[in-house]
């Protein structure tokens, strides 16, 4: 039985469309997208209001979740990394997490068949 993994990619919201299209082109159309807020080591960015600067310490980000067989993980990481890349601070991170079980609600299929 192939093991399954979940990829959680936190990316810049403006990159979502590029990443989504690239994933579809590579044969991975299924995904879940969530608007999230967060920050990395640089602790937010500086903005300006009425001549005074202030720090926005939780930035809007987009989280993409994809569940797939373990042997496809590296390929999908490459797709996401190449399309979400700008080279600037705040490009985001990808987390890979093992998945125990997958169930398709409609048919009751399990694991590999349910993906």
């Amino acid at each position: 039985m192939t093991r399954m993994c979940k990829l959680e990619a936190i990316i810049k919201p403006l990159k979502l469309h590029q990443v989504k299209d690239a994933l579809e082109e590579a044969g991975y159309p299924s995904l879940t997208v969530t608007d999230v807020k967060g920050r990395g080591q640089q602790k937010g960015i500086v903005q300006q209001w009425r001549g005074k600067q202030y720090c926005v310490d939780l930035l809007p980000k987009t989280k993409i979740e994809i569940v797939l067989p373990e042997d496809k993980v590296e390929e999908v990481i490459k797709v996401i990394q190449s399309t979400a890349y700008t080279g600037e601070i705040g490009d985001g991170k990808i987390f890979v997490i093992p998945i125990e079980t997958v169930v398709r609600i409609r048919t009751g299929e399990r694991n590999g068949d349910a993906l």
């Binding site: 903005q47 300006q48 209001w49 009425r50 001549g51 005074k52 600067q53 202030y54």
Partner: protein, 480 residues
């Protein structure tokens, strides 16, 4: 004679007959028009022209009133745009009720106190509920009414996001019934004794020249601005505005709305200043309009340049304030100065906006979310002072035929110090009256009703706590 020729001759004959008839009719018309029974005399012509001019003035003042009325939409949008979304419904209600209350209270009380029969140069005493009004009075009332509620609206912006709605409504009534019209009486009533502008007033007699405030840098804006100062002082800063004595920015939720509101206000100034000629045939109406927009534009450019130099980025909401600052300042002098005078006044107003907003926040620790005190208070004061500096004087240069302008030249035009002096008297009076009386009223309101909402209500947002609905309710989930 061939048939065709005969027909042609007949046709010619008919034409000749037609021309003959036409000549007779024309002759008859000449005779009838030149006969004494139907002649129009010079006096009748003059009367007809006068009637037409009166009608033009009525129409112009109605159009101008409409533009000033629309400024309340501008105030609403600027205030909502520069504040947080959780207080939007409350701010819309405050501004909306200000106009509504303004109409009713200025009809019942305000007009009578401002323009009723004078008592000792201090207050009007009749025409309450517009008793005895005629067509001209209704026309004037409508134009003056749309100005009256503006003072309260200015205060609303400065005290936004933490003021008790009920206390604000009571304050609004008192502003339109008492604070605004009494000071207005001193400047605009036209009474001989009128405290700051009447020929028989002891102050005017002592200084030798009447105070001039064309469209209300003092009457409307300074009074509103210094009343706002009293309110902001007493209601205190919003939670989170100051941390360890340092001002923390609280960004507004919609700059699109704030900028639309600013442009609506600028459009309204066409009626505010243009209409204040009070005469559609005023020979300087277009000078007034051009000066108004020159000062506003250069005010915006100046403030933008300062913020750009100070922070490295041109600041949108302060730049919008800069436009308003220029417009407020030129409101008093716009009919008395040259185009270059307007430019100079606008530049100083732009500087005052930046310096005033920073001074209020950093030094006085005042929380004025929309910059109302700097825009209306400080720039209103500058507008009054600038009359004493830049006035050309009636009868001089481009103001050869002026009737409604500052009477004498200002300091920069060789008129000496007297005009500046009476303008300074008015400046002190606006501060004392606007700040002093509003301070007392807010103190009483605080004791009787409570000026400020509770901490929980403020954090929750005044939309929910005061009105039970958010302006953008779809952002909240509802459980079925």
């Amino acid at each position: 004679m061939p048939i065709e020729e005969k027909e042609a001759k007949n046709g010619m004959l008919k034409n000749v007959q037609k021309i003959g008839k036409l000549l007779i009719v024309i002759c008859m018309m000449f005779i009838s028009l030149s006969s004494p029974a139907l002649a129009t005399t010079v006096e009748e012509n003059a009367q007809a022209i006068e009637g037409l001019q009166t009608t033009l003035t009525f129409l112009w003042l109605l159009i101008a009133s409409g533009l000033v009325f629309f400024m309340h939409a501008g105030f609403s949008l600027v205030e909502t745009g520069l504040t947080r979304s959780k207080n939007t419904a409350n701010i819309l209600m405050k501004n909306f009720m200000t106009v509504v209350i303004g109409i009713l209270v200025y009809w019942a009380v305000g007009w009578g106190i401002m323009y009723g029969a004078d008592a000792a140069g201090l207050i009007g005493t009749n025409q309450f509920f517009l008793a005895g009004a005629d067509n001209a009075t209704w026309n004037s009332w409508f134009f003056q009414m749309v100005f009256a509620a503006t003072g309260a609206t200015i205060v609303s912006g400065a005290m936004a996001e933490r003021t008790n709605f009920k206390a604000y409504l009571v304050y609004c009534i008192l502003m339109v019934a008492v604070i605004y019209p009494i000071y207005g009486h001193w400047v605009w009533s036209g009474a001989d004794m009128a405290l700051l502008s009447g020929a028989e007033s002891p102050i005017v007699k002592a200084i030798g020249v009447a105070h001039h405030d064309f469209a209300g840098s003092g009457v409307v804006h300074s009074i509103g601005g210094y009343s706002a100062l009293a309110g902001v002082l007493l209601v205190g800063a919003r939670i989170g505005k100051f941390k360890d004595g340092k001002a923390i920015p609280i960004p507004g939720h919609n700059l699109t709305i704030a900028f639309l509101g600013t442009l609506i206000l600028a459009l309204g100034w066409l009626g505010f200043n243009g209409g204040s000629t009070l005469n559609a045939n005023d020979p300087y109406m277009n000078l007034v309009v051009v000066n108004t927009f020159l000062a506003g534009a250069v005010g915006a450019v100046t403030t933008m340049a300062i913020t750009w130099m100070k922070t490295g980025k041109p600041d949108p909401s302060l730049t919008a304030n800069g436009l308003l600052g220029g417009l407020v300042a030129v409101t008093a002098p716009c009919g008395s100065i040259s185009n270059w005078g307007a430019i100079a006044i606008g530049i100083v107003a732009g500087i005052i906006i930046y310096a005033g907003v920073m001074f209020n926040e950093n030094n006085l620790k005042l929380d004025d979310p929309v910059g109302a005190i700097a825009v209306h208070g400080y720039c209103g004061t500058w507008g009054l002072i600038s009359v004493g500096l830049f006035s050309i004087g009636i009868g001089n240069g481009i103001l050869a035929d002026a009737s409604y302008a500052a009477a004498v030249p200002g300091l920069f035009y060789g008129g000496g110090i007297s005009l500046l002096l009476i303008q300074l008297v008015a400046v002190v009076t606006t501060m004392a009256w606007g700040f002093g009386l509003s301070f007392i009223i807010f103190k009483i309101l605080d004791a009787v009703i409570g000026l400020r909402v509770s901490e929980e209500e403020e954090i929750m947002g005044l939309d929910i706590s005061e009105h039970g609905i958010r302006a953008y309710p779809e952002y909240l989930m509802r459980e079925e």
